[in-house]
Symmetry: C2
Subunit: 326 residues, 2 copies
């Protein structure tokens, strides 16, 4: 009886002492109310991704496992701009980027410009765990993924008619003779995906995966595969995943900057995120948003676009998803 | 007479109010005393690079022009691991990376994995000034450089017998059947190059260029092409260029972290640099060093390796070069 009571006490205490939490995003952009059927699908997919990660966390799984599991669901869905359903480059290809980071060891891995890796987030994790490197790009990254048993697909696996049509619309707007450039401000739906999770050991992890911008120049890397810019995790501060106009996120080293403000200025996560997204990025024209979790399991979602697809399951198990504005 | 006096006063005041300064590095690594003739050449090349940048600064040129001019000298020299004389990948190729950033606008540009661009720092600058992007890699970066009139060379332009011999030595040390990996700790001479400059307008700029590590996996990017990791410039804090074991510099977002400690903790440049290089990187096993200048023209060189090739011309015009330890 006494043993049972002690056990009960211990498990309740452990539930209090070691909360888990997960937050995901499916990109920031203009407010855009899709047909009701698609809207329903987007909510359902966000929920499925959250549950995939959260169930692992509840079973004592690691934050990095949860981040990978949630992002794989979003990569496999054609509704988001990552994995299947990625946007096209100006040359009509899908070039995918992803990164992942673990906040205890601050180990990190990333791939850029891959065209045949079904789930770039898995390749990013393999770079972290099975190579001495952090970032591999192009053919070298694909060779590495193949050698490490990551699923390889034909480049046309990623193609969806919706994204192809978006490329044709983008092309129709280009001025002949002028160098083409992607204009993310004009893009309705950016759709990068990301996840941050906190596990029972108090370890944070973050990951991001994207197809970039419709009409991007071949070989362009945005912030998603760059540690510090699009993704960062540090158990002393927070885990962060970003989405938006990548060049601004690179120049402002957004994910790391939020962690730095927490560590060096003792700002709470919510304040650091608000300052960086609303007071640094917004005035500079850098449109997008971030998700984050701190070591106390506080969740933040902050964006300066009209809409951001996101969802979370907090320390109390409360699930929420949203696809439009606040 | 009065006019002449006022003019004299103004020019002296302007000399006091607007100092210029430049600092360069040629990589950090093990202490290694090369043959006297080569040692003399290394000092001479460092001095030539410094003077190329400093003369532009004295004539009122921009910090970004000075950084580019100094780095081109170092890229063109076979003595350093950037441009001509770059190290070889495990497949026996030269894959080059570079980045540049300007501290007033915080504009930035970078290229990764280029094999035909004679001066990668020029291509990085073109990305900054003539594209909406920050980072282009591989064939896309090369196409962009060619379209923008950057000099293209055959891949064997970069080859030197010394570097080729280093690759053969590296290969001889690999265990057959085991996946190959570059071990930067074992590399005698890393030789990445970089420059930071402060111009008469008080603008800082920083740039870095490298061939990476002997035996690196194809497609590997280190910190050199990554804004925030290997290169950062912010007029509110400092300009920084890094050299060393890139993966550690990426995970610790070294260049931006030094600027963040200055801005958020009011640390002087020298203190922030020392803490990051000696107290963050060194205990983690991250070998290398950094150069930097703050807006008051203070110059810092900090490294945790036995040696670092470096040189500077300070606000008083004092030139110094060194290739070994302290």
């Amino acid at each position: 009886m006494k043993t049972a009571l002690v056990y009960l006490l211990m498990t309740s205490m452990s539930a209090i002492a070691a909360p888990v939490a997960i937050v995901i995003h499916g990109g920031a952009g203009n407010e855009q109310r899709p047909p009701a059927a698609e809207e329903k699908q987007r909510h359902a997919t966000l929920e499925r991704a959250l549950r995939a990660g959260h169930e692992l966390l509840l079973r004592g799984g690691s934050a990095i496992d949860a981040v990978e599991a949630a992002i794989v669901v979003l990569e496999d869905s054609p509704l988001f701009n990552a994995g299947k359903g990625a946007v096209f480059t100006s040359e009509g290809k899908n070039e995918l980027d992803a990164s992942i980071m673990e906040g205890r060891t601050r180990g990190a891995g990333a791939v850029g410009n891959v065209t045949t890796v079904k789930n770039p987030i898995r390749a990013a994790r393999a770079v972290m765990e099975r190579s001495p490197h952090v970032l591999l790009v192009g053919r070298g990254a694909e060779e590495f993924a193949r050698r490490n048993g990551i699923e390889i697909v034909a480049p046309d696996y990623f193609r969806t008619e919706e994204r192809w049509r978006e490329l044709q619309e983008w092309k129709a707007k280009q001025t002949p003779g002028k160098p083409q450039s992607a204009n993310p401000a004009a893009q309705e739906h950016l759709g990068t995906v990301g996840c941050v999770a906190l596990d029972q050991n108090g370890t944070l992890a973050a990951g991001t995966s994207t197809g970039g911008m419709t009409g991007k120049q071949p070989g362009r890397l945005g912030d998603s595969p760059l540690i510090g810019a699009g993704t960062y995790a540090d158990n002393r501060a927070c885990g962060i995943s970003c989405t938006g106009h990548g060049e601004f996120f690179i120049r402002n080293v957004v994910a790391f900057d939020i962690a730095a403000r927490m560590r060096y200025q003792n700002q709470p996560l919510a304040d650091a995120a608000r300052v960086v997204v609303q007071e640094v990025l917004r005035p500079a024209g850098g449109r997008g948003g971030i998700i984050g979790i701190d070591r106390e399991a506080n969740i933040v979602v902050e964006f300066n676009t009209a809409a951001m697809a996101r969802g979370s399951i907090d320390r109390h198990g409360k699930l929420s998803t949203a696809t439009l504005g606040r």
